[in-house]
């Protein structure tokens, strides 16, 4: 049988007419189109010239020229996170590929679906230390979900389809296609996506009915339940958010989310406790600590969330639903682990809840909510405002006031205090509106990610909430914004310090501010001007509103340099390795024992 098949296949292969043959570069473009790609973020170079040539001769795929390959990846991430589609980047060999590594790692940590096509030296030169050769598959092996080195042009289409499938399914992540230059020139045949078979890669998506029945049974007996959800809900798509929102609204169970999951459950609902974790709210963290049943969906018990693992939610029955089996029991041992896609799990939970006629104990839930309301009254995000100095929290409150209930706002951030304040002070009511680098914590993420989001949503209001240190890590992307007339807004909370570093040094390192001062800052107004955008600076609370209006109305890219209190700290804060109930609130920061650590 097998032999017959091989003979027939060979005969078929031999009769391939000239007309069926395409160059590798054309195959790649065709495969991208078949995958529904409309935008690529990239930067050219010798090893990708044939691909750029093919791009030049078509009009379906738009190429966005970034100014640094790291930014191509972050832009692709912003595009992906704001649309739910796969983001695509294209870089050259050697330095192009190595520059992409930070972006790939970022996408890996945050489970963002990205395909990165890297040029490679011609296959006959691989291994010779050829000009601009880097061992891209070797270097990216552990910072990608998977990677391919394509040596045979007739497998290029197949591998491209595989790359997209792997990037977007299961636990999403980055996939690299390393494409030698000679393969881009060579001619071969095309394979359609539906002809690709997956032998070993088959993520488990369907939730087990017995496990769901057990979950419902246990949840219905809870007196102090809490839902802890994360980026996995956003990865799973809009439907998962809708199901979650409905289930929580119907059952009135308190819910908190990680930094990565913000927006999956609407912040304007009464069940919302705010973010949990190191800089999460008092009510969210204490609810985690005191709950008796913990349902985690699509979150991975990161150490910024758990604090000290031995003191983490000590008395709860823990249920964890995750599409990646290796997330379960990795950091925290759970009592019931369910490997499933969040949508499937939530669909089944809702159905089983109705079918099993499950109902929570009303008096117990009332007591639980009373307790939570007490915690809420602590008002943990309170800060002391000032008439003369702009407090960063106040700047964000004003920004939020201007955003109002607008539905077309996309927020990205850099990394640091401003990122945490943004998470605390800007509420998100829908998924895919919040883009931040959580797992890797990559300064320089926000501006390119905003560019990616703006490309995907040309008419939306896209704002990068930034720190003056982070923004300089990919500041060159202002040129990209200028080239494509992208009206992205950069809202800098300029405290003249690497604030997050300064905060740790103040609280944990005896106020020795080693190298954390933002010395020799550029004039951001002139900088914006130099790149062809609008720059505004404010240093008094009274100027904020006008400046924010001006920024929002600007049709060019705009930097609003908000000079804020240089010494403000971000609270609440759970020092690393402490329990949720050992959090420090801003009010007692002065009593904080600085010799603690």
């Amino acid at each position: 049988m097998k032999d017959m098949k091989a003979v027939v296949e060979k005969a078929e292969k031999d009769t391939i007419s000239e007309a069926d043959l395409m160059t590798g570069a054309d195959i790649m473009i065709k495969a991208l189109k078949e995958q529904g790609v409309d935008t690529i973020f990239g930067y050219p170079g010798g090893a990708v010239l044939p691909l750029y040539d093919a791009l030049f001769q078509q009009n379906d795929i738009k190429h966005i020229l970034v100014r640094h390959e790291q930014a191509a990846l972050h832009a692709a991430e912003g595009y992906a996170r704001s649309t739910g589609k796969v983001g695509v980047a294209l870089v050259t060999s050697g330095p192009g590929a190595t520059n992409a590594v930070t972006g790939l790692t970022d996408a890996m940590m945050d489970s963002i679906p990205v395909v990165c096509i890297c040029g490679q030296v011609p296959s006959f030169l691989i291994g010779t230390d050829a000009f601009q050769e880097a061992d891209t598959t070797g270097i990216t092996r552990h910072c990608t979900k998977h990677n391919y080195l394509v040596k045979d042009v007739s497998r290029l289409a197949e591998m491209t389809h595989r790359a997209f499938h792997i990037a977007r399914t299961g636990r999403p992540g980055p996939v690299v296609i390393d494409l030698p230059k000679d393969v881009q020139f060579a001619s071969g045949t095309y394979t359609t996506a539906q002809d690709v078979e997956y032998r070993s890669y088959r993520p488990h998506l369907e939730a087990d009915d017995h496990a769901i029945a057990k979950l419902v049974e246990i949840l219905a007996q809870a007196k102090k339940p809490v839902f802890y959800t994360g980026g996995g809900i956003i990865n799973a798509g809009d439907r998962a958010s809708e199901l979650l929102t409905k289930f929580i609204s119907d059952t009135n169970i308190p819910i908190t989310s990680t930094l990565m999951g913000l927006g999956a459950f609407p912040a304007n609902k009464s069940q919302w406790l705010g973010m949990l974790g190191m800089h999460g709210t008092y009510e969210a963290n204490l609810a985690m600590h005191d709950c008796d049943v913990l349902v985690c969906i699509g979150a991975r018990f990161d150490d910024r969330v758990t604090g000290n693992v031995s003191g983490f939610s000590p008395n709860s029955f823990k249920i964890h639903i995750d599409v990646d089996p290796s997330s379960i029991n990795k950091n925290i041992e759970v009592d019931l682990g369910i490997v499933a896609d969040a949508t499937s799990a939530l669909e089944k939970i809702s159905a089983a809840w109705t079918k099993q006629k499950a109902k929570l104990n009303d008096p117990a839930m009332q007591l639980w909510w009373q307790q939570i309301d007490k915690w809420r009254q602590v008002n943990c995000l309170e800060y002391t405002n000032s008439d003369s100095v702009i407090k960063p929290q106040y700047a964000l409150e004003r920004l939020q006031a201007h955003l109002g209930a607008r539905d077309d706002v996309y927020i990205t951030t850099e990394v640091g205090q401003h990122q945490m304040w943004a998470a605390q002070f800007i509420p998100f009511n829908r998924p895919n509106r919040w883009m931040t680098s959580g797992g890797l914590g990559t300064m320089g993420y926000g501006l390119p990610a905003a560019i990616g989001a703006q490309i995907a949503h040309p008419d939306a209001l896209v704002i990068d909430i930034a720190g003056e240190a982070s923004i300089q890590m990919n500041i060159q992307e202002l040129s990209t914004a200028a080239q494509y007339r992208l009206p992205v807004k950069v809202f800098i909370l300029n405290n003249q310090w690497m604030g997050m570093v300064r905060q740790w040094q103040e609280l944990l390192h005896g106020e020795r501010y080693s190298q954390s001062y933002s010395e020799a800052l550029p004039d951001f107004v002139k900088l914006a001007d130099a790149y062809g955008g609008l720059g505004i600076v404010v240093d008094h609370p009274d100027q904020l509103d006008d400046a924010i209006t001006q920024m929002i109305e600007s049709d060019k890219f705009t930097i609003l340099d908000v000079r804020v209190d240089p010494k403000e700290n971000c609270f609440p804060m759970i020092p690393s390795g402490k329990n949720h109930n050992e959090m420090i609130l801003s009010a007692d920061a002065k009593q904080f024992d600085k010799k603690l650590v």
Binding site: G138, H142, R199, S200, D324, I328, N329, K330
Partner: protein, 189 residues
């Protein structure tokens, strides 16, 4: 569990595969991993162990099905049950991995290793080495006036024991393959 979990004390002391220092009580598990025989697959799997700080005690890999392009990797890894479970799910999620079986948990399995053991010496020691080899059913595969090379197969414990016996008899070099293992009976993995 009438199979032969590796005797870790002997391994730790004598294995030439560099047993890690033991801190917490851990057990060695034999993992059988079926993978697509694609470039980089071994690097990916080995790198996963180093990147996450897991220990490999023994590693064997070879193509097992040419038509299907499959290889079997057999790894002895050491850790607490939780670490072993984590290793298995990390391995299982790699794209080229078809499946991972923990043979130690699965129960009865056969595990064999091949070793080449060179003993240098003359006279009484040489005779004694031959006698010892015979007890272990090791055969002589090379000989010179002052050296003998034996080929031995068996469980890792048997090889460990043989190595120990040869030590005072002029043991000079060892090369071991790492283990090959399959479940007993008709089980397919």
């Amino acid at each position: 569990m009438n199979s032969t979990p590796v005797n870790r004390n002997v391994m730790a002391k004598k294995s030439v595969y560099g047993a890690a220092p033991e801190t917490t009580p851990e057990a060695a598990h034999t993992l059988s991993i079926l993978v697509d025989n694609t470039p980089g697959v071994l690097a990916k799997i080995v790198g996963l162990f180093s990147g996450r700080g897991y220990n490999i005690e023994s590693l064997t890999v070879a193509e097992t099905d040419h038509d299907q392009n499959l290889s079997r990797i057999t790894i002895i890894a050491k850790g607490t049950q939780r670490i072993i479970d984590q290793i298995i799910s990390q391995l299982d999620k790699q794209v080229p991995v078809h499946n991972v079986i923990d043979l130690t948990i699965l129960g009865p399995h056969v595990a064999r290793e091949l070793a080449l053991i060179k003993v240098s010496g003359q006279g009484e020691k040489r005779v004694e080495a031959m006698r010892t080899a015979e007890i272990f059913r090791a055969k002589v595969v090379d000989t010179t006036i002052d050296s003998l090379t034996f080929e031995a197969t068996g469980t890792p414990e048997k090889i460990d024991a043989l190595v120990e016996m040869m030590q005072p008899l002029g043991l000079s070099q060892i090369s071991r393959t790492g283990i090959a293992a399959l479940p007993r009976g008709n089980d397919k993995i």
